[in-house]
Structures are given as C-alpha cells and as structure tokens.
Symmetry: C2
C-alpha cells in the first residue's frame, strides 16, 4: 500500500492526531481505473457534505494535485481518501480553526469481473445505531461495522445489518436493494448507514431505465418475496445476492442489466486525474 | 506530551493502523499523582470489559511495566492509556488474531484544587445515539462528543447531552448526578454514554455514606427540583454545577462532602507503579 499525508509520501500519522483518538474524520474509498476516479462526482459531493456536517474545512484546492500525483500511472486499484480533524491537545475540543490532515492510500486490486456469481450475505446480529446527526456520512466511527464483520469468516462475502429498531439498514460495507416487479426497494438512510455513491447513482438514474426506487423502512421478512436482491459499493459495483440464511434468490435480469449500466455511469461521473 | 507505543517512546502511529481508520480501539484517561494511578481498579475493569466486548485481546502482562516506566518520577498529570486493534489491510475485517497497539500519552496538569467553584453546563443540541452493544465502553468512536463540544467555546466548562430519545445521558466528558433529599440520581447508561470510573465508585460506595443512588431515565426537566447537581470524571473529580441554561443551583453540602470522600476513595483504589 502506498500512502501520502497532505501530498507527501508518509507511513505514519502523528500521535497528536484526533483521527485515532476519536475517529474524528471522514473517508472515501474510490475505485481507480486507468487514472480515472470512478463516480468521483458522488464521492466528492459526500465528502464535502461530510466536512460541512462535521464542521471541518472543505477539501483544499491542492487535493486534486495530490490525488493526481498519487494515481498517476497506476493500474486498477482502490484509493482511500481520508481526512482527519488534525492535531490537538487532550480533550474533545477541536482547535479553531482545525487543520485537517488529508491522507491518501492506494492499493492495486483487479478490475471487477463482468457479471460474477451471486454472493452470500451473512445475517449480522450487530445493529446500526440510529443517529440522524451522522447518518449518511462516511465518517471514521465504524465500530458497529467492525463488530458486524467479526461475526463471520469466509462463509459469506458480505453481512447484512439491521438498525437498532430491527429494520433493514445496509451491508457492512455496501448498500442493499431488492426488486419486486419494476420497483427497486432500498432502506432509507436518514437514521443510520452510509449514503453510498452507487446507491445515489441508482436513485438518480434508474427512472430512465423504466424502474422506480422506493426507499422503504422494512423488516428482513420483506426480502421473502423479492424477485432479486443485490448489493452495491465502489469496490464491487453491483453484485447479485443468491443467499441470506435460508433464503435464496436467482441472479436476476435487472441485476445484470444494472451492472452493465453502472459501467457506463461510473465512467460518465468519473474524474480523470 | 510524552508518548509511547508498546512500551517504546514514539511520536507516530502507522498509517496501517485501524485506530484512525475506524476508531477501532479503546482508551482510559487516568489521573496520576505521585506515581499513583487513581481509581486504577475501576479503569482496569472497564478496559478489560471493553477488550472483551470488542473481541480484542486483554491487556498484555507487560502493560504494567510500560505504565510504570512512563509515569516514574512524573508529577501530577493525566495518563491516556489507549489501545487500537492494530494494523490490517483494507476493510472492516480484523486479522485473526488481532495484534493491538498499546499507546501511552502523559501530560502534566495541576492537582485538583480542593473545593472549587460550581461550573456552568452548556445544554448541547447534539445527542448520543442509543447502542447497547457499545454503551458504557470508553471506545474511540467519539464523534457525537466531538460535535457536542464544538457547540460552545468558553462560556461553559462542560456540556450536557441527552440521548436521541431526549433523555438525560451525560456530560460530553463526564457523568451527571443530581440530588433530592438523600437520593442521588444519575442516568442509566445501558443504551449510551460511558460508565465513568467515579460514577461507578459512587454507585458502589455512597450507601455507606447514608445516600442512595437511583439510576433514573429522566428528561432535563427533572433537574428543575434538584437540590444540587454535580458532574464527575477522572480529571476534575466531583464538580458542583451552578448553572445550566436559566437554571441555577447552590454548591450543595453533599457535593462538598463527596469531594472529600472521593479524595480518599481514589487513593484506596489506586495502583502505585
């Protein structure tokens, strides 16, 4: 893994940083292909929103340069773009103004295979707390997801989490969709979860594909009569779900169609460094 | 500030660490006086509980040595004893076994003044999410407290937080008590907040002082007919509250009495390095 802090190659973070002390920061996990940052429009929007909601400065003008130098001449990979609230003395109080650190970490991963088998979802017991102040943001307070991911080893590719009221919320690192007829359903994320870039792209664009999206508060039992189920995120794109506990679904036609659509949409919303 | 990682003087944390990426860790803030760690019995218990609940290894046998060397010949100060889940590749999944990093940070602060004026509490709008899986632990996911602390500057010494249902929870970095007659009231923390060491000491011992403690789910209006109000934590001990918004309280006799009791109780539960 290659790493940079504020544009300089780095391996370490100062111990005075608030990132490790309080999770006082944000991150984006961006898929990079041929020096293009897929879905950058959406990553950038969420990042700016996160900075504003956490009361931290917006990304600096130099960030584009730093990213460009980091991914120049790299192959396919994932770029983790993170910010912390920077350094401070003891206590929750931030300095005013805060001086964030911007951290880039790049690692190669293979391009996504076209199609791909359906995956298995593990039904996690760990639940997502409801917190409208932080809901949607990709902030660095991720213990619920870490605890959920520790519930299984290799028998599933992803885990499904409910919120603390028992309603469907999200995968540990992905968003959930299910389809009945021409309607895609996905949990509303006003109270918990991350507003995934691919989820938002679907919300914005599937109308043009003859589908509607309904953000529905639903129990896991709502998946019983789904015709197909899929998850999405920056790394895997759209992946059909073939099993959750005893429930099974076919790899459906809309999942395949949306996979193809996503390849084009990700490029259309990309940024070339 | 002096810092050590795993017993070695250090200024930085590896960027591969999960602490800054996910807040995957725990901490204790321990008051040190004359090379004694006040209330260590309680800090150690909470730390061990946190390790177990987060699925991380218990503190290593060497930790006592590392602490001893860190605070040897220091004056009065605060020792931040933190652990992170250690280093890993990308993603929420921890390595098995996880190899935590243990981080010590020491800084001098004056001893607590005896008595002290009553303080002002700021009524924070930011609320604590309800999450029984993490409630009580002093984990490193502290964005709600950070956002609450950013709501005021110098017009108050501490802020009061409710949970997302609007019930009294805690100070941003302290626990809350109020008294009517011979009963001390404090919010139950089964859903959010930190099980403070001084709070637990009070719960364990005030019976012997002729007081009872009731853990009561209460709205802020319950403070209206309190005869006295105080907060407590490792740094400030017990501090009377004289004002919250338009409400005022006297510095009460039980606050003064408990301050004196705490000095003894902290020493009795201390550990001499």
């Amino acid at each position: 893994m290659l790493s940079w802090i504020d544009g300089q190659p780095a391996r370490d973070l100062p111990l005075a940083d608030r990132g490790w002390r309080y999770g006082d920061g944000l991150f984006e996990t961006v898929r990079v292909e041929q020096a293009r940052l897929l879905c950058w429009t959406y990553h950038q929007r969420r990042l700016r929103l996160g900075c504003a909601r956490l009361g931290l400065p917006a990304p600096p003008a130099e960030l584009a340069d730093w990213i460009g130098r980091a991914i120049d001449r790299t192959g396919p990979g994932m770029l983790r773009l993170a910010m912390t609230a920077g350094e401070s003395g003891a206590g929750y109080r931030r300095p005013r103004p805060a001086t964030p650190h911007w951290i880039l970490q790049w690692q190669p991963i293979p391009p996504r295979p076209a199609g791909g088998e359906g995956i298995v979802l593990y039904p996690c017991r760990t639940r997502l707390p409801r917190d409208p102040a932080l809901a949607g943001l990709k902030h660095a307070n991720r213990l619920p997801q870490v605890l959920a991911r520790a519930e299984w080893q290799d028998q599933a590719e992803e885990g499904l989490m409910c919120d603390t009221d028992g309603f469907l919320a999200a995968g540990t690192a992905s968003n959930l969709f299910w389809r009945r007829g021409s309607c895609l359903y996905t949990p509303p994320l006003a109270q918990c979860g991350v507003w995934g870039t691919r989820r938002q792209l679907l919300l914005d664009e599937v109308g043009a594909l003859g589908l509607t999206v309904c953000q529905q508060r639903a129990r896991p039992s709502a998946l019983a009569d789904a015709e197909e189920v899929f998850i999405c995120n920056a790394r895997i794109g759209i992946r059909p779900v073939r099993r959750l506990g005893h429930r099974r679904w076919p790899v459906g036609p809309q999942s395949r169609r949306l996979q193809a659509w996503l390849v084009e949409a990700e490029q259309r919303t990309a940024w070339a460094a």
